[in-house]
């Protein structure tokens, strides 16, 4: 590079290319990537799945999976070219000069080793402590990483800690040897939103005070906006745009960045919620849930309750043509509520009325009749389809089950449905494995619509999808509602998504419905502390201010 920098950059990727050996030949995952990081700088590497961001991170730390290989290019770090370094040389870099905070804390700690040992190991591997001092330092590191009672936690095993606590242990491991660079690979995407924010805050605090540079890998532009000084946008293995955070957000120059920005739900707070009239109150709401309770048995153990109330006294109603959003963190009972409403599980007490009829105990024919009018869309569309069936069979199955039309009639209807969810007719003969995630979710929607139901329960329908695909699927749901007056029960952990689609929002916590109101009211004037906490945890707000 021609510029005469005052200081040598900490990390410089030069024309880095990485390929994977696959059954159908070499697949390039990272293609001629250049990247410069200064000491102490926080850079976010943003991209959707398959963009190569994670591969880039793994190439830097020399941990490409088995079939991955650096084809060409250099990784300059601390005066050395890491790309040319052997495994022996790399060992003095990993953990010592570059720390890694992995993606999913629940599976990233060795389940059979004590926490303290796993932290102390880094120090001992690099000769920074002996067996005894490693213990003392491990406790201190855990304390700095924000883990309460480090002395007790040290002697515990990973399964005894919550996900957030485990991520703090992994942070302690990453900072242990005081590296100059920390690579954080989607460090919070497996955690609940409120925990996410605390963890990111803590990483920021620790690295700022120690002057550590952070390479933050994320799919969430809003997280990047909050945390990074510079943003690098990747797509299909290439860097499409690099720049200071403010510039990228205010003035994106690349088409892909623009699309990403438009799709990110939480980065568009200025955009008013979709201007849709709240449907007029009709006399009878489509669905009424009254005082629903559902308990699950826990494994027996002394000093612990026998059951847990997954759903605790939950009441709400859904009007015709209305979308009710249910938000909550994992374990809040929102998915169980969805399954209760559909009568896929039975409530222990409470009532469900569908279109004025009490269906709480409907069995046999009446239960099946309900199936024609209430359908579900699952979080993972792939898992919800029989891998052996063709798309056409999947979509036509509800018709076949209820003996609607003959074979050719059903086939014609399946094509119509495909058209409605904007899929080409050519997918009809394919298997689910041959479709992309977004296409599969469209198929799931088509199947749900096959019997023209009145209510569709959407259980996290977009959370397994990339943001740009998310936006398209949400748009489709809204269009379908406008066309045919469907009602939705929309379950999500993502407030920003719910805000885009719901007329009213219910907030669930530990089985209870803590707050229920019109979307605008919930977002502008939340009544409950917990709701406020959830709202504050939505990323992208620092930038908005």
């Amino acid at each position: 590079m021609g510029e005469t920098a005052m200081t040598e950059p900490l990390l410089r990727l030069d024309d880095l290319s990485v390929s994977y050996q696959t059954s159908s030949g070499l697949a390039r995952a990272v293609d001629a990537v250049d990247l410069v990081m200064q000491p102490g700088e926080v850079v976010a590497l943003v991209g959707e799945s398959g963009s190569g961001k994670s591969t880039t991170a793994h190439a830097i730390i020399g941990l490409l999976p088995g079939s991955g290989r650096i084809d060409r290019g250099h990784i300059h770090f601390g005066g050395r070219d890491l790309a040319a370094l052997g495994d022996r040389g790399y060992r003095s870099v990993r953990g010592r000069q570059i720390g890694l905070i992995p993606q999913d804390p629940t599976v990233s700690l060795n389940p059979v080793k004590r926490i303290g040992e796993q932290v102390g190991e880094v120090l001992r591997a690099h000769g920074l402590a002996d067996r005894r001092s490693a213990r003392i330092e491990a406790a201190e590191l855990l304390d700095r990483a924000g883990l309460p009672d480090p002395l007790i936690r040290m002697r515990q095993y990973p399964h005894q800690l919550s996900g957030g606590m485990r991520q703090r242990v992994l942070i302690a491991i990453a900072i242990a040897a005081r590296p100059q660079l920390i690579i954080a690979d989607e460090p919070t995407s497996a955690l609940d939103v409120t925990v996410q924010r605390q963890i990111l805050d803590h990483i920021e605090e620790l690295t700022r005070s120690a002057g550590t540079a952070v390479l933050l890998i994320t799919h969430d532009l809003a997280v990047a906006a909050d945390r990074a000084q510079r943003i690098v946008v990747m797509s299909r293995g290439r860097v499409v745009e690099v720049g200071p955070t403010e510039r990228i957000l205010a003035d994106p120059r690349d088409d892909y960045t623009r699309r990403l920005l438009r799709s990110a739900p939480s980065l568009a707070p200025a955009r008013a919620p979709r201007a849709r009239a709240v449907p007029a109150e009709s006399n009878t709401p489509l669905l009424v849930a009254e005082n629903l309770v559902r308990e699950f048995a826990l494994p027996r153990a002394p000093g612990r309750p026998r059951t847990i109330r997954a759903v605790d006294d939950v009441s709400f109603s859904i009007g015709r043509g209305e979308t009710l959003g249910l938000v909550g963190e994992s374990g809040s009972g929102k998915s169980t509520t969805a399954r209760l409403v559909l009568r896929l599980t039975d409530p222990d007490s409470g009532h469900i009325r569908f279109d004025g009829e009490d269906v709480t105990t409907a069995k046999g024919q009446r239960w099946r009749a309900l199936r024609r009018r209430a359908q579900i869309i699952y979080q993972n569309p792939y898992a919800s389809m029989d891998p052996r069936q063709t798309i056409e069979e999947i979509i036509a199955e509800p018709l076949r089950v209820f003996k609607v039309a003959d074979r050719s009639g059903r086939r014609a209807r399946a094509r119509t449905l495909l058209d409605r969810v904007a899929l080409p007719e050519s997918v009809a003969r394919r298997k689910p494995a041959e479709l992309s995630g977004g296409q599969r979710q469209r198929v799931a929607i088509a199947r749900a619509l096959a019997l023209t139901p009145d209510l569709v329960v959407c259980d996290e329908p977009v959370s397994a999808l990339d943001v740009s695909v998310q936006a398209q699927v949400l748009e489709l749901l809204v269009e379908l509602q406008a066309d045919s007056g469907l009602s939705y029960l929309f379950i999500s952990h993502d407030l920003a998504v719910v805000r885009q689609i719901a007329h009213r929002v219910g907030v669930m916590r530990a089985g209870r419905l803590v707050e229920l109101g019109f979307t605008a009211d919930i977002f502008d004037a939340p009544a409950q502390d917990y709701t406020r906490e959830l709202l504050a945890a939505i990323p992208g707000q620092r930038y908005a201010k």
Partner: protein
């Protein structure tokens, strides 16, 4: 913990009782007339037996009583360690088996150690080596090992090492050198099974994110492999240890026949030849006992190896 232990012990006893019952059903109910089989000693035509002698046998074994009474009687005696007398020589079954057991235990124990060392070592090497061809070559061995008939392997070893090169004795029970060939024969299929299971488990473990965490710490590959991966990979393979040991024990029937060694296996083979039902039943129950005891031991040891499994769950929020 004490309650868990008691419950687990009771379960083991229940399985043993059920195994005894199955052996009773197979051996005493399946044949149309067990007495004539026994009187006949499994040889030739049945009409050569004197009817008076048949009746005497019938009374002696209680076959003139209703089935359920026979079952309860026999079970009661089995509980006191009495499995009846051998049809061949009239010796108590328990004595026959007890006399032969040390030989078989010696052989099976040696074979088990061999199998674990060779199988475990192969799995370790195959997953540890950075040379891909070596790993693949090593992993190609176990499928061959499980495909070879062990009686044939035994004969081939005898042919080459005893007859051709005259290195080791072919037959008999004389000393350690006579133990080598039968033990190798017995260990081979088991070593192959262990290698297959452990290598598969190791591969899966090495792909776990926590192994990546360990690598990212800058640990030496051997440390990652042994202290992080191996420890976790061994756990699932432990659950089949009852099966593995049971398999080795049963394998003694074939191996002791091939090498003309005395032992429980040889006794079993002759007992089947003579349709000596009491002895066969004794061996079957002994086999189940071995399986149940090993499984019980593994179950009780497991919580020590895997902190996630405890008798009393103590998860902390």
């Amino acid at each position: 913990m004490a309650r868990y232990l008691v419950r687990r012990l009771l379960q083991a006893v229940a399985v043993l009782w059920a195994a005894y019952t199955i052996s009773f059903i197979v051996l005493y109910l399946l044949p149309s007339d067990p007495v004539s089989i026994m009187a006949n000693g499994g040889q030739g035509e049945q009409n050569s037996v004197d009817p008076a002698q048949l009746a005497k046998l019938r009374a002696e074994y209680g076959f003139d009583k209703p089935l359920i009474v026979q079952y309860v009687d026999q079970l009661g005696r089995a509980l006191r360690g009495d499995f009846g007398r051998s049809v061949q020589n009239g010796q108590p079954v328990t004595t026959t088996i007890r006399q032969a057991l040390p030989q078989t235990l010696q052989l099976a124990g040696f074979a088990l150690v061999l199998a674990i060392v060779v199988g475990g070592g192969l799995a370790f090497l195959a997953t540890y080596t950075r040379r891909r061809w070596l790993g693949e070559a090593l992993l190609a061995l176990p499928p061959v090992g499980v495909s070879l008939p062990s009686f044939w392997v035994g004969l081939m070893l005898v042919e080459l090492l005893s007859f051709h090169w005259r290195l080791l004795p072919a037959l008999g029970n004389a000393g350690f050198s006579s133990l080598v060939l039968p033990a190798v024969t017995m260990a081979l299929p088991t070593a192959a099974v262990i290698a297959q299971l452990l290598a598969k488990s190791l591969k899966r473990t090495l792909a776990e994110p926590y192994v990546e965490t360990a690598r990212a710490k800058g640990l030496r590959p051997i440390t990652v492999h042994l202290r992080h991966a191996m420890r976790n990979a061994v756990l699932p393979t432990l659950t089949v240890s009852g099966m593995v040991v049971g398999h080795i024990f049963a394998g003694s029937v074939v191996v002791e026949t091939v090498f003309s060694r005395n032992g429980v296996g040889r006794i079993t083979a002759t007992a089947v030849d003579f349709q000596d039902i009491p002895v066969v039943q004794g061996v079957v129950v002994l086999g189940a006992l071995v399986f149940v005891a090993i499984n019980l031991a593994v179950d009780l040891l497991y919580p020590l190896l895997d902190p996630r499994i405890t008798a009393i769950p103590t998860t902390v929020r």
